[in-house]
């Protein structure tokens, strides 16, 4: 990784990441967190900070398709990776199935956990398109929500999975 040093001797590394499909090249210090790159440098504030300890899951993003707490990932570790944030979930003005299902099922209250919750659910549905309720609960167990009691979130994820399955059958 290329590196330059400032007058105080602090090193900055050139990282190249793909964020929501766009190539990004950034200079970061060794201790810069991925969450701060996304929020402060790229203005992708849909990724939230709730604890900065990896407890709450509000900063969940997909790193090469896997859900991670971006407050526990150093920016230099993400070099060369593809990252999906909540801003990259919908491909157009039309909402992604999961986003739509969250809105339709009253699974959103304050909305602060929602981006992380949707990305954890997205990762689940990618690897397991027809999860059982307990599998949904397990997939979002690392995402804390203080408003909903998870009732409608679980419902929304199950409903999104069901519509995907229905469509598949319809096509087949």
């Amino acid at each position: 990784m290329e590196c330059i040093e400032d007058k105080y001797g602090i090193k900055r590394y050139l990282i190249q990441i793909v964020v929501n499909g766009d190539d990004r090249a950034l200079l970061v210090t060794a201790n810069t967190l991925l969450v701060n790159v996304l929020r402060e440098r790229l203005d992708l504030t849909g990724t939230k900070k709730g604890c900065e300890l990896g407890n709450c899951g509000s900063c969940t993003v997909l790193l090469d398709g896997k859900p991670v707490d971006s407050c526990l990932v150093l920016a230099v570790e993400a070099d060369g990776c593809e990252i999906t944030t909540i801003e990259g979930v919908a491909q157009s003005e039309e909402l992604d199935r999961l986003q739509n299902s969250f809105v339709e099922n009253a699974a959103i209250q304050c909305g602060y956990c929602t981006p992380g919750m949707i990305l954890s659910a997205k990762a689940l549905l990618t690897r397991n398109p027809a999860p059982k309720e307990q599998e949904v609960r397990q997939a979002i167990a690392g995402n804390l929500c203080r408003c909903t009691g998870y009732v409608n979130i679980v419902k929304a994820v199950m409903a999104a999975a069901a519509t995907t399955e229905q469509e598949k059958r319809g096509v087949a």
């Binding site: 709730g50 909402l95 602060y112 167990a141 203080r146 009691g149």
Partner: protein, 785 residues
């Protein structure tokens, strides 16, 4: 009765759902302004210490630091959200009173520099003896926390209605139980943040707040500004639950830093600082004595409580009154006595958390009542039905109850949970418990004395009539007030929900409203919105009458069509009429305001607990206790609510889910804990254990038919009421499952295990082992002696 509403009563999607699902919704911490600085507060590492000297010189030399402030740089006027006891300073002047008390603040070009600067500020302290337990704090030799409050007594309440001693003397059975609550914290997932900036003499603050109005009021007071020169705007708020009601210090400190530097300053708390700032639920020690007649009818109750207030008043005076005042709501009895002392300790200040002072006392009362039911061999549901409050009654402490369907709630909860089939019949380790609750639909009086209306609203119809914007000071912190108020506005005007836009909670552009607390907005803000909508409709019908050449009284408007009631085929689009009004008369505007009627008695503290209407609820839960480990699994919970007319059923049930979830966390896991020096040992979201998706049981939320004359379209509250019965309902289910009472919160696995071991030991000692066999049955272990 069949409702004929086009918009209310429907589960329309949240108006901000899309913004929140796509990440577009911006919370205070997400906002950036040109040239903005970052600021943080330096807090005390000691629970009680005299400040001898503060040296900021080293920190000032650090490159990137733009300002450092201490008490010398800020107004010294004391503040607090309760005018009854203004006891906080923006920064401590002479001494610090808890670990986390505010001492200084820094503004710098970035977060990293701020943290470095905080470490370079040197504060010399003389450490003083500290006290962490309210009972100890009341003893003669306890350290004095505030010179102005001898004996560390922050508030003392003594109320008696009727004659409790006389009631006990004619009771068939009198019983006393003592329970202890715990400190819990609201833990909204969004941390507190505030961004302050000045434009000449005008201060603007973007804040993560439940009440822009109270922030504006206290900012104006501290900085001696007219209210008009203080603008407070709420952004999207990531949950509050009572914790974002009052100034946090971030807005005061940020305002001063912004004035000194001439730049916008963003201040925030990290998770540990949120725990330290606190303002969460009080720990209460609750002794209850109740006398009943032979049938189980309550003749009188005496509540004798002590409350750990922490180092400052916060909302605690109201919490202290609420703790006792609301115990009279669910059961109909005439004689009631309430004694309370709220005590200062060297711990973070406590305030209002969902349900305010009421959930812990209700836990205590519901357990106490189950014990009485067991003593009398009554079904716990039966004793509640015998005593359940009826509509159109008045409580001994002068709260007028209009609608009340508590008996119907109990009946329905019994039915849907299979209570009769399960009670006393579940296999070993499983149990079922019941509890009831009630809560205010808005406080009858504001927090500080004022004759301002409690809520106000303006509706502006757009010039082409295609849309309308509601301007309301009501504060959506996630509960959905923006959505339900838009539904109400659309219904009142006769247009579609999809046509509604909303601007809310900005003290400059929206009319006054006290904000999101005491479950007030659907009823109070909703009343103002309904009035504003009806004013628009009246003007539209009048103009339409002219256009159609009929009398306005013959017309109605629904779903954006004005039509002749006798012949709906004759109609004209709302937009045409609204456009014509704009062309002829200028802006088409409606306005409304709401002030509650005069409520309550004339005794000291009579105002707290008054409300135009009260919700009622019953919860039944089924739990499984592992008798070897004490582990508790909540299997299923049923909630039946009387909350008046429902504006948005999906959002309403979501409130029940959330309130119940919070109650469950408090019941079993959550507790803020301290080391021997008063430092929090679990100020994070893993050691302070919030329930996860894996902990949440199956929930059934149901309603009973209800209508309250005090609310627009008959509405009442739901958001806090569903937290009130939860802890008691779990405790009673555990008693049924394992035959043990745990008389302190949380009902942790360890405590249940301990109680089970004590029960075993007790059984070995007694000649005849006593096995709990459900109701009616043998007395349980806790009754022996």
């Amino acid at each position: 009765m069949k409702d004929d509403y086009a918009v209310i009563g429907k589960s329309v999607p949240k108006i901000d759902g899309r913004a929140k699902a796509t990440g577009q919704a911006r919370y205070t911490g997400d906002l950036k302004f040109p040239n903005m600085l970052v600021g943080k507060i330096l807090t005390s590492p000691h629970a009680h210490a005299r400040i001898l000297h503060i040296d900021t010189s080293e920190a000032e030399k650090l490159s990137g630091v733009k300002a450092i402030i201490t008490h010398k740089d800020v107004p010294s006027k004391k503040y607090g959200i309760s005018p009854a006891r203004w006891d906080e300073n923006i920064f401590c002047i002479d001494k610090v009173r808890f670990v986390g008390d505010k001492v200084a603040a820094v503004a710098a070009i970035d977060e990293e520099t701020v943290y470095k600067a905080l470490k370079l500020i040197k504060v010399e302290y003389e450490v003083l003896p500290a006290v962490f337990d309210p009972v100890e704090a009341l003893t003669e030799n306890a350290p004095l926390i505030h010179e102005e409050f001898p004996g560390n007594i922050n508030a003392e309440i003594h109320q008696e209605f009727g004659n409790v001693e006389e009631a006990f003397s004619r009771s068939f059975h009198v019983r006393t139980d003592t329970y202890i609550g715990q400190r819990t914290y609201q833990s909204p997932i969004e941390p507190h943040a505030a961004i302050s900036m000045w434009d000449g003499g005008k201060l603007t603050v973007y804040a993560s707040t439940q009440s822009p109005h109270y922030f504006q009021y206290y900012l104006a007071r501290e900085f001696e500004l007219p209210m008009g020169d203080v603008r407070v705007l709420k952004t999207f708020v990531g949950g509050g639950f009572g914790g974002k009601m009052e100034p946090t210090g971030l807005e005061f400190g940020g305002a001063v830093l912004a004035r000194i530097t001439g730049r916008p300053v963003k201040m925030f708390y990290d998770r540990a600082e949120m725990f330290a700032h606190n303002r969460g639920r009080h720990r209460q020690i609750m002794e209850l004595t109740t006398g009943v007649d032979r049938e189980g009818k309550i003749l009188g109750s005496y509540a004798n409580f002590i409350m750990d207030g922490g180092a400052y008043t916060s909302l605690g005076i109201a919490s202290a009154y609420y703790a006792g005042a609301l115990l009279t709501l669910t059961y109909d009895f005439d004689n009631y006595k309430f004694d309370m002392i709220r005590v200062y300790t060297n711990l973070p200040a406590c305030g209002a958390q969902r349900g305010h002072g009421a959930p812990q006392p209700k836990y205590a009362y519901e357990c106490h009542l189950d014990n009485i039911a067991r003593d009398l061999r009554l079904d716990p549901a039966e004793i509640r039905l015998i005593n359940a409050r009826k509509p159109n009654t008045v409580t001994p402490n002068s709260f007028r109850i209009n609608s009340c369907e508590l008996s119907a709630c109990i009946d329905k909860a019994k039915k849907i949970s299979g209570w009769n089939e399960k009670r006393g019949k579940l296999p070993g380790g499983k149990g079922i418990g019941i509890a009831v609750g009630s809560f205010v639909s808005g406080a009858g009086y504001p927090i500080y004395r004022t004759d301002l209306p409690h809520a106000a609203a303006i509706i502006k119809v757009h010039e082409d009539g295609s849309a309308a914007t509601l301007y309301t000071g009501a504060t959506d912190i996630g509960q959905g007030s923006d959505t339900v108020l838009c539904q109400m506005a659309a219904e009142a005007m006769g247009i579609k929900y999809e046509q509604m836009k909303i601007v809310s909670a900005d003290t400059e552009t929206t009319p006054h409203d006290f904000g999101a607390y005491a479950s007030r907005q659907t009823l109070m803000s909703g009343s103002a919105v309904k009035e504003a909508g009806e004013m628009v409709k009246e003007q539209v019908l009048e103009m339409a009458g002219k256009m159609l050449e009929v009398s306005p009284s013959e017309l109605d408007c629904k779903e954006a069509v004005v039509f002749l009631k006798s012949d709906p085929g004759i109609s004209i689009p709302f937009s045409n009429v609204a456009r014509k009004l704009f062309v002829d008369k200028g802006p088409l505007v409606g306005r409304g305001a709401y002030t509650p009627p005069k409520l309550g008695g004339s005794f000291k503290g009579a105002a707290v607990g008054t409300s135009p209407a009260y919700s009622f609820a019953t919860q039944i839960s089924e739990v499984e206790v592992d008798k070897e480990t004490g582990e508790i699994r909540v299997k299923e919970v049923w909630d039946v609510h009387d909350c008046g007319k429902v504006i948005n059923p999906a959002l309403l049930h979501a409130q029940v889910h959330g309130a119940l979830f919070m109650g469950m966390g408090e019941a079993i896991w959550e507790e803020v804990r301290f080391d021997k020096n008063g430092k929090i040992i679990n100020p994070n979201l893993s050691d302070y254990r919030l329930p996860t998706a894996l902990d949440m049981p199956r929930v059934t939320s149901e309603l009973v038919e209800s209508y309250d004359i005090a609310g627009p379209w008959g509405v009442k509250e739901v958001g806090e009421g569903a937290t009130i019965p939860t802890m008691g309902c779990f405790a009673n289910a555990i008693l049924d499952a394992a035959g043990v009472s745990v008389n302190s919160l949380p009902l942790s696995y360890e405590k249940v295990w301990q109680a089970l071991r004590e029960k075993e030991a007790g059984e070995k000692q007694t000649r005849k082992p006593i096995e709990h066999e459900g109701y009616p049955g043998e007395p349980a272990a806790y009754e022996m002696e």
